[in-house]
């Protein structure tokens, strides 16, 4: 008598759990089909974190291709213009460990500047510029539109007379930043000097 009840109990428990399993499995399947996204949003998100200098220092022709490569598993640390901040943002997004930057970090934003007296008008830099920031024509002087230049220095190498300099980007006063002499440490007491305060 008892054993039959037990068996029924066991069977019903098994049945209920199986039913739940199937039900939720089906729900998951439906949801994943229903809300499937055609594009790969992850690539978009990675691309949004890259600095868009299109400099190619990562070995890819532009930021978007590098974003696709990262999505395929390439290293995160190949973007010198982005620096540590970009590596950390990418590591956060992808749940990977941040690696030290491969290459030299850039200390400040730069723009290309053509010493116009020396320019011979070869148009080679114009062809190299990934964002069409150089204007000029054959045998005429070229110049860089400062606002459009991303500072990728791709124009330096092609120049046959080495008349292009990388100069610090000028910033208007309205973009002035206060000098913050503060560590990123969260703990308030850690910001104070260890001695000298009484």
């Amino acid at each position: 008598m008892n054993s039959t009840i037990d068996i029924i109990g066991i069977l019903s428990a098994v049945a209920v759990l199986t039913g739940l399993g199937i039900g939720f499995g089906a729900l998951l399947g439906v949801v994943s089909e229903r809300f499937k996204r055609e594009d790969n949003p992850l690539v978009e998100q990675i691309d949004a974190l890259l600095p868009q200098t299109q400099c190619g220092q990562c070995g890819y022709p532009g930021c978007r291709p590098y974003a696709e490569a990262i999505n395929q598993g390439d290293a995160l640390n190949k973007c010198p213009p982005g620096g540590e901040a970009t590596i950390h943002a990418l590591a956060d997004l992808l749940g990977r460990a941040p690696e030290p930057l491969d290459g030299e970090a850039q200390s400040e934003a730069k723009v290309a500047f053509i010493r116009e007296a020396e320019c011979i008008g070869c148009t080679k830099c114009i062809q190299a510029c990934p964002v069409d920031a150089i204007i000029g024509a054959a045998k005429l002087m070229h110049t860089v539109i400062e606002d459009e230049c991303t500072g990728c220095d791709l124009c330096l190498d092609p120049c046959p007379v080495d008349c292009i300099d990388m100069l610090p980007r000028s910033a208007p006063l309205t973009q002035w930043q206060p000098v913050v002499a503060r560590t990123s440490n969260m703990i308030a007491s850690d910001r104070q000097p260890a001695s000298g305060v009484s």
Partner: protein, 349 residues
Amino acid sequence: MSMMHASGVKDAMTTTAVPPTASLMRWVIAATLPGIATMSYFFGLGVISNVLLAAAFGVALEAAVLRLRQRPIRVALDDSSALLTGVLLGTSLPPASPWWLIGVGMIAAIVVAKQLYGGLGHNPFNPAMVGYALLLVSFPTYMTLWAPPQEMLPNDLWAQITGTLPTTQLDSLSGATPLDAFKHKGNAVLASEFWAANPLPNGTLTAWQWVALAWLAGGGVLMAKRIISWHIPIAMLGSLVLLATLFYLSAPSHFASPLFHLLTGATLFGAFFIATDPVSAATSQRGKLIYGAGIGALVIIIRTFGGYPDAVAFAVLLMNLCVPLLDLYSVPQPTGQQKASPGKPGEQP
């Protein structure tokens, strides 16, 4: 020449209308005095020895940890927050608790719950309640040694504090608190049978009620001085009374009356001195109301259905856990975030 603000310069005016942080802490300590005095009147000098020992442990431990962390010690000690934690934990413990028990509790409170998280202002949990909860689950025997109301100077006070009292005598000290007694009810099943059996030593209930009123007086002063905001105590007591009343009305024979819940155990002490710790409480006014109400509800639920007779410590700690969530979802609507007021539309049609 830019007309932008030169940031990095402190504001020129500061107020004297709000006392600085250290005075806030000292006000709270001062407001515990009526409660402590009443407790020691009923339960003897053991209460005061608890408070003094715990406060001394608090200051010493804070100084030690600050030294290890290589932080300025004086500045942190001046804010009296370690002292306050000591006072609060000391009053929560059974009278004349042994020194090592207090020490362990204060280590948990100051070292673990406070300093390991970064010191004042950074602890997610109420330090005193972390210490109390740790002691309650680790040393249940010692934590239930609430002797019945007694003389100011019992014979074995010193032996108790130094921890040299033989274990055989420990039982003689044990006296149930009203909450404890009601929880287990002895042989009684129904509340009425329980009360008829007169289960408590003489004067116990009265003593607890007087102590509760003393806490209420201290808390009232703090609220009147605007040292603590009214939101948390009122919400906590409100939800506690409401829930207790519901239970009591549904089955008066099984559940204690709301007044019993209000005036026994740590209800009023918790409402004014524990739950109001601003660091570990919710931050917006709406959040504080939910936080307080949550504590009140949890107190009743744990007291009624849980394994422990009193529940303020656990209720506060559980609600501390919920604070980040409460903060996230109780952001007040700033003026201007609402839709533009109707009536005088500015946009051209």
